[in-house]
Symmetry: C2
Subunit: 143 residues, 2 copies
């Protein structure tokens, strides 16, 4: 899993004529061994703890690269920060976002996807992607 994504990123870098650097390796490692749904700031702080020589801008730029390479996806959950989640090939899932503790769970539902396709089809709309988020209280925060 981790290895596969490193390979994907290495290939992406090579294909674009970009360079392999220490910073990119460190950031990729840290990203892959993190929580899904990490914000840029969270990742930056995590990195700073071990590597004081990594700049803010580099983290931003590198995460954007991950997204372009297809190993990460940008997400907004309305807290004003962009989060990046891990992307597995072909996989898609939706989110349950706890408005109290901020925890994010994932779910998949084939029937909902099916209904979405029907709705789009009935209007001649071609779906490229979708987002479905349920906001509320997670089981722990309900007490």
């Amino acid at each position: 899993m981790k290895r596969a994504k490193k390979k994907i990123f290495a290939d992406f870098i090579a294909q674009r004529g970009l360079k392999s650097t220490k910073q990119r390796d460190i950031i990729l490692d840290s990203f892959l061994s993190s929580d899904r749904h990490l914000s840029i700031e969270e990742l930056y702080l995590k990195l700073r703890a071990k590597h004081s020589n990594i700049g803010y801008a580099t983290v931003y730029r590198t995460l954007k690269l991950f997204a372009e390479a297809g190993i990460a996806r940008e997400m907004q959950f309305g807290d004003g920060q962009t989060r990046y989640e891990h992307v597995g090939e072909g996989e898609h899932h939706d989110h349950l976002v706890c408005t109290r503790c901020g925890n994010i769970e994932e779910f998949e539902n084939e029937t909902i996807e099916q209904l979405q396709s029907e709705i789009a089809a009935s209007r001649g709309f071609l779906i490229e992607r979708h987002r479905l988020e349920l906001y509320g209280l997670c089981v722990n925060c309900r007490k």
Copy 2:
């Protein structure tokens, strides 16, 4: 419809001990006779055309008030701008967002809502609100 919302806002103003002002009347009129899903900037520019004396900050503040009063709802569609849509009582709908022309259509689907409730229930999650957006090409942009 338009009258009903003006009444709701007037009542809201009164109840809070706020004031009725020329600017608020103008902004409300303009909002009510606009497209659903207008961004703040779009509304501001529209207003400026007729009323050069309305400030940016006032438009922001007033739209927030509309949201508090329950006649508008803040929405984010990932283009970096907050949009306000009209709110009818008790109504909820989801969106089809065209990634080429930016047009936003609405839809409702009771079965999807039902499935969402089941998913949440199975995890002990209490839904407060949700968002479902389908991004892609609208019928016109598909050519």
